[in-house]
């Protein structure tokens, strides 16, 4: 950390997200919200897009002690743009963090246009995608963030999801975001560090936060943090940041076999040996590309 930020001290402060939400047991996206508020503090405006996190506040209850707004599903980038511009117009934009906290369906799929426009215009907004790899709020349908071969209700076994996921952080870096990163709720300090960094950027930033989901991934609540760790340590979800197109690896994965990460997730239960090997090969190839300076070559994905 470059600034005076002490996580232990921050944890002692008033919780800006209270308990008692409707989130599932072990929900990692709500944990991600908590981390956002620990990292950025009370001068934060949270912009929600329709998804799991929308239902965390339901009349007459709200768990948020910061301003929170729900718009539609596909307009996170545009709504945040307006909020930032509005604050700027009346001279209230200094020291206020406008943060979009949107699911992967709202980011990778339906809200891509709005996000892309926000980044293109260099709006000072931190966009966090809580990525549980599916449209979870509607009951676990596939999104463009769903890993290849995973089970969702619209890509049921034995076939599973046929398409490989999009690489959003990379895409947004190419979209001219000065700061992009991947993160995982199982690595909270890494995520907090990235948010603190994003807050200092005079422009847009994008953080793709892998956030394991109990009913969607079919993992016991007690094993969700472990599931995230295994995704990172197997190389399936590398943790990196891209500053002005320069990539930095934040955590060197142990490169444990992907089999270890997949076997605790019910959504991969139907995988054949061949499919598991294919995933393993892709992971090794992607990791080589990241580490050997070929990150921006796209044809091999």
């Amino acid at each position: 950390m470059t600034d005076a930020f002490n996580i232990k001290e921050e944890m002692k402060k008033e919780h800006l997200l209270t308990g008692g939400t409707f989130a599932c047991s072990g929900c990692n996206p709500i944990l991600g919200t908590r981390l956002v508020l620990i990292a950025l503090g009370k001068n934060t405006i949270l912009v929600n897009t329709a998804g799991c996190m929308t239902l965390t506040a339901t009349w007459p209850f709200t768990p948020y002690k910061v301003p929170w707004v729900h718009g539609a599903i596909e307009n996170g980038g545009a709504l945040a743009t307006g909020i930032y511009r509005g604050l700027k117009a009346i001279g209230k934009d200094k020291d206020t963090h406008v943060v979009v906290y949107a699911g992967d369906g709202a980011t990778y799929d339906i809200g891509l246009q709005s996000l892309s426009g926000m980044i293109y215009r260099q709006e000072k907004v931190i966009y966090v995608c809580y990525n549980n790899c599916q449209l979870a709020n509607t009951g676990h349908q596939k999104s463009a963030a769903t890993p290849q071969y995973a089970r969702t209700t619209t890509t049921p076994p034995p076939i599973g999801n046929q398409l490989p996921r999009k690489h959003m952080a990379k895409m947004m870096a190419m979209n001219s975001a000065p700061y992009c990163a991947t993160a995982c709720t199982s690595f909270p300090l890494d995520f907090i560090m990235k948010l603190r960094k994003a807050a200092k950027i005079n422009g847009p930033s994008f953080i793709d936060l892998l956030a394991p989901c109990e009913p969607g991934w079919i993992v016991e609540p007690s094993q969700l943090i472990n599931a995230g760790k295994l995704m990172v340590e197997s190389g399936m979800w590398p943790l990196y940041e891209i500053e002005n197109k320069k990539i930095t690896i934040n955590h060197k994965p142990k490169m444990i076999p992907v089999r270890e990460a997949l076997k605790i997730q019910g959504r991969f239960k139907h995988l054949t040996e061949e499919q598991t090997s294919e995933i393993q090969e892709t992971v090794i190839k992607e990791w080589e590309m990241i580490t050997k300076g070929r990150f921006w070559e796209s044809e091999e994905y």
Partner: protein, 379 residues
């Protein structure tokens, strides 16, 4: 200061005089010139608010919601397909009780594509909870934008306002327009902070899910605010008249006092209908025109009162709801329910088809000899 200007320029002046702070926008024919004029002012530093072109009308409406929630007076403009793309946001903006002004320049809906005016775009958003003014003249467009902020930002109301003009007939036609003195406007609509909004010092949860009866209560409040706005609108109209000498009403009654037949309609073509009525009056025929300026909330009682002594009523719809007919027609029938009137519906002017004085004379003659209520197409 008087000047010759088209409706689009008048709309831009309305926004400028209102000292709007945030203008998210996306171009569409025939409304583009509104944002081009503001852009030219921004380039000359005559406009100092945030002016930003976004990636779609959906995003323009979203950003408008955001900036108005953040406390900045917000303006945007669109037309036709653009209004359709904004549609998802419209009830959200009124549901969050966030005031702003949106100008729509009416243009027919695709397909087939036509750039010319009809009112299907504006009719499609009538249930969105926006106070809606439909204008007849360029001056009225400018004035209604300023009045829109006065009415929408009233703490008893807190609703967005839509000001409608007709594509081409208003947007690209120059007429004399008076630009009021800035000092008058500053006094009329001083900037005031909203009590609801996004402020880190006063955290608030907006756009919250509300289920069952809670949802219904929220929507009931929007309805109540809409109905309450009648009084606020009347008050604003009176104050405006004192300031500028220009008199507005929620309905526009033309030669109705002793009329036996009347046209009921909205929009720019009303001017042609009025000319037709003038001509017929010279021939001794007792005819008139009722223009509905305030479309939502719907001035049901005023319409009934204005038409109560008239036997034959011709409702002109420059729109079509396929499978039933004109959209204004059932609303007028509802307002006149239980009275023994002849009420005909005439669908005309779709896709900007030109209407002459003679067309309106024909309609008035036709409705006077109708034996039963009829729905007709004039083309």
């Amino acid at each position: 200061m008087k000047d010759l200007m088209d409706g689009n320029t008048a709309a831009a002046w309305g926004a400028r005089l209102s000292k709007v702070k945030s203008v998210p926008c996306f171009p569409i024919t025939p409304a583009t010139e509104i944002i081009e004029v503001i852009a030219s002012w921004e380039a000359k530093k005559e406009f100092t608010g945030e002016f930003y072109q976004v990636e779609s009308e959906h995003s323009a409406a979203s950003a408008a919601l955001g900036s108005a929630m953040a406390g900045a007076r917000t303006f945007t403009a669109t037309s036709s397909q653009g209004l359709m793309l904004m549609h998802e946001l419209l009830p959200m903006i009124s549901g969050c009780r966030i005031p702003m002004v949106l100008v729509n320049v009416s243009r027919s809906l695709s397909a087939p594509i036509s750039l010319w005016c009809d009112h299907n775009d504006i009719m499609a958003m009538r249930d969105s909870g926006w106070i809606t003014f439909i204008c007849e003249r360029n001056q009225e467009v400018l004035d209604s934008i300023i009045l829109g902020y006065k009415i929408g930002e009233n703490k008893k109301i807190l609703l967005p306002v839509l000001v409608n003009m007709d594509g081409f007939t208003h947007s690209f036609t120059r007429t004399e327009v008076d630009i009021p003195d800035q000092k008058l406007i500053d006094k009329f609509i001083p900037h005031q902070e909203l009590e609801i909004g996004l402020d880190v010092k006063k955290p608030m949860t907006l756009g919250i899910p509300a289920m069952g009866l809670d949802y219904m209560r929220y929507r009931a409040q929007v309805n109540t605010a809409m109905l309450d706005s009648f009084a606020v609108i009347e008050e604003a109209h009176k104050e405006w008249e004192k300031l500028t000498g220009r008199k507005y009403d929620i309905i526009d009654e033309y030669n109705l006092e002793d009329a036996e037949a009347a046209i009921v309609m909205i929009g720019a073509n009303t001017s042609i209908a009025k000319a037709a009525v003038k001509k017929m009056r010279e021939d001794g025929k007792k005819v008139g025109v009722l223009r509905i300026r305030l479309f939502r909330p719907f001035p049901e009682e005023r319409i009934r009162k204005a038409l109560e002594k008239i036997d034959s009523i011709a409702v002109i719809d420059q729109n079509i709801s396929p499978g039933i007919g004109g959209i204004l027609y059932p609303e007028i029938k509802m307002a006149m329910y239980g009275t023994q009137k002849r009420i005909n519906n005439y669908i005309q002017g779709l896709g900007g088809n030109f209407l002459s004085e003679q067309d309106f004379i024909d309609i008035l003659n036709d409705v006077m000899k109708s034996k039963k209520d009829e729905k007709k197409w004039q083309m």
